[in-house]
Symmetry: D3
Subunit: 140 residues, 6 copies
C-alpha cells in the first residue's frame, strides 16, 4: 500500500505530498495552474494537488511514463482540453517519453478517435516541442 | 400547463414570449447572440428564443436557479462550450446563484467529468467574475 | 472550512466519513457499487467513497439537492452513464427533488444536449420511478 | 418561409403537423417513442414531435434524405445513442437512402470519429437491415 | 470495387491518389494541413491524405456532397473541432452544398446535439461564408 | 520507415499484414469482429485490419504495450465503447500489461474523465478478468 493506511495525516500533509509529485512531473506548469486558481477556486487547486497527484498519481502501481500514455489518450479523446494537453505533453517529456513516441501515440489515436482529435492534439504537441527546441521531429 | 394549450399563437407571439424570458435570464447577452446570428442563421436565433426560452425555459416546473445548476453541469460535461458557459455563468448569477455556489458546483463536477473539464469551466467563471468585480471568491 | 485542516486523519477516518455521506445520499446503492468493485478495484471504491463523497460531496458550500441537479445535467450530457444515472436519480429523490422536477430537468436538457441524450436519461428515470412506484408522473 | 408567420396556431395544431412529418419519416417507430414516454414525460414527447419534427424537420430548406445523412453523422459521433440510431437508420431507408449508402456513410465516419464509434453504428445498421431482410449488403 | 484489388501500388501511388482527391475537395486548405504537419508528424499528414482521402473518400459508394453532410453532422456533434469545421464547410461549398443548405443542416443539428454545439458550428460557418463573400445568408 | 515505401503492395498484401498483427494482439477476438462484419460492411473490416493494424499498429515507433495504454485511455474517455474495451483489455493482457496495471490505469482515469467513465471501464475489466480466471485482482 503506497498511501499511509494507519498513520494520520493533516490536510497540509496531503497537499505537500501532492505538490512534491506535481513538481516532479509537471515542473513549473503545475505551480502555474495552482496560482491561476488562487482567486477563483483555491479548493480546486488543493484537490488537484492533494488528490490527483498526492493520492492517485503518487501510487506505485503504474510507472509515471505509463500514466502519461494513458493520459495522452484520454485528453486526446475528450477533446477541448488544449491547456491540459499542453501541461501533459510537457509532463510526458519530463518522465521519459521521447518526442517520437508522443507523435506516434497521437498518430495511433487517429484510428480510435478519428483524424480531427488526433490533429488537434498533434498541433498542441507542435507548440510544446517548438517551445522546447525539439522540432522537427523525425519519426521514422 | 404553462404554455397556452387552447389559445392560438403566431410565430411572433412565441418569439416575444421567449425574448422576454431570455432578457430576464441572460440580460444583454441574449440579445448579442441573436444579433450575431442575424446575417448567418436568423432562424437559429428565432428557435433558441422561441423554443429554448419561450417554450422550455418558460415552463414553471423547475425554478430558474435550478435550471442554471443543471445547465452548468451540462455545459461543463459537454466541453468545448466556453461562449455558452460565459452566458450561463452570467445567467446563474442573474437568477440568484452566488459566486461561491457556482465555484462549488464546478468543483463538484470534477468527480463526474474529471479535472480537465472542471478546470476549463472554472477559468470561464474566473473571466465572468472578473468582469463583474466578483473576485476573489472565498469559498470557505 | 468543512474538512478538517489542522487535525490529522487516517485513511480509514476518511473512508468512514465518506461512507456516512454516501449512505445518506444513495442508500443501499452506494454499498452495492462498493461491493461490486471488491474483487476488481477496491481502491477505486475507496476513492469514490473517501474522496468523491467524504471530501467533495461532504463540503457544505452547495446543498445536496443542488449537487444532484448539477449531477443530473452532467450524466445526461456525458452519455453512456446509465448505471450512474440510475444511482443518481435515486439519490435525487432521496435528497428532495420531486419526480416532476427531475423530469423537467431532463426536458430542459434537450435544449442543451439534444433529444437523444434527453431521451436516454428520461428512460432511466422511467425505470427508477417504476421501481419506486412513482409512475405515472404528471408534470403539468 | 415554411412555418406560418402570420397565422396563429394552437399547441395541438403544432403537434398534429409534427406527427404527420414524424409518421412519414419514422413510420411506427415515432409513435412507439411517443407511447413509451406517456407515463414519464409526455411533454418531452410533445416537444420532440411539435418542435423536432413539426418545426425543424418540416422546414423545406434541406431534403429529408440530406437530413438523415447529417443525423447519421451526429448519432454516430455522439456515441451511446443506439435506440436513436435504430430509429434513424430505419428513417434513412424510408426517405430513400440505400443500405449501401448507409454502410458507406458509416465507413466514412471512421475517419472522423474513429473505428469504435463506426463499429457501434454499423452493428445497429446490421440489426435494422436484418429486421428488414436487407442482409447481406454488398457494398462494392 | 473502387480501389485496385489486384494491382500493386506503392506508398507514393497511394499518397498521390489521395492528394488528388484532397485538392479537388478541399482546395488549398488540404495542402496547408499537410504543410503544417511537416515538422511534427509528416506521417499523420501522409495517412490523412493516403487513407482518409485516397482510400475512404475516394470510394464511389457515396457522393462527395453526401459525404460532406455526414461530416458536418459529425464535426458539429464531436465539438471542439473548429479548424476541421472550417476546412469542411469550405469543402461542403466546393462540392455543391449551398450556404442555405449548410445553415439548415446546422439548425437541424440543434435537435440532436443541442443549441451550444449548433451555435459553435454556425459561427464557424459565419466566418467561412464571410471570407468567401457569401453573407448574409437568407435561408427562407 | 516501417512500411514499405518503394515496393508495391496489393490490397491483399496489406490485409494479410494487418491480419497477422491483429491476430498477434487480439487473438481470436479480431477474427470475430471481421466475421461479424461480413454481411454488413466487409469493407469496414478490411480497413480496420489493413489500415488500423497493418498500417498504424504495425509501425515500430511505439511498443505494443504502450499502444494499449493509450488505447485504454481513449476508450475509457470516449465512453460507450464496451465491446471495444473488452477486445482491448484482452489485448492489453496479451501484450504484457498485468491485471494490476490495467486496474491502476483505470483508477488513474478517474482524475481525468471522472468516476462514471472509470467505473464503466472497470466493470468491463472485471468481466474480462473473470473470463480469464484473473479475479480477484489485488492491486496493493
Amino acid at each position: 500500500m503506497n498511501t499511509p493506511t494507519n498513520s494520520a495525516e493533516t490536510r497540509q500533509d496531503r497537499f505537500d505530498r501532492g505538490m512534491e509529485v506535481l513538481t516532479r512531473v509537471d515542473g513549473e506548469a503545475g505551480q502555474r495552474v495552482v496560482d491561476s486558481l488562487a482567486d477563483i477556486s483555491p479548493e480546486l487547486a488543493h484537490q488537484i494537488v492533494s488528490w490527483g497527484f498526492g493520492e492517485i498519481y503518487h501510487r506505485p502501481g503504474l510507472a509515471p511514463r505509463d500514466r502519461q500514455l494513458v493520459t495522452l489518450g484520454m485528453l486526446t479523446a475528450l477533446g477541448g482540453c488544449k491547456p491540459q494537453l499542453d501541461v501533459h505533453i510537457n509532463a510526458a517529456l519530463n518522465v521519459g517519453l521521447t518526442p517520437e513516441e508522443i507523435v506516434e501515440a497521437l498518430l495511433h489515436s487517429s484510428a480510435y478517435c478519428g483524424f480531427p482529435k488526433a490533429l488537434n492534439a498533434t498541433f498542441v504537441a507542435k507548440k510544446v516541442f517548438g517551445e522546447r527546441g525539439l522540432l522537427p521531429v523525425t519519426a521514422d
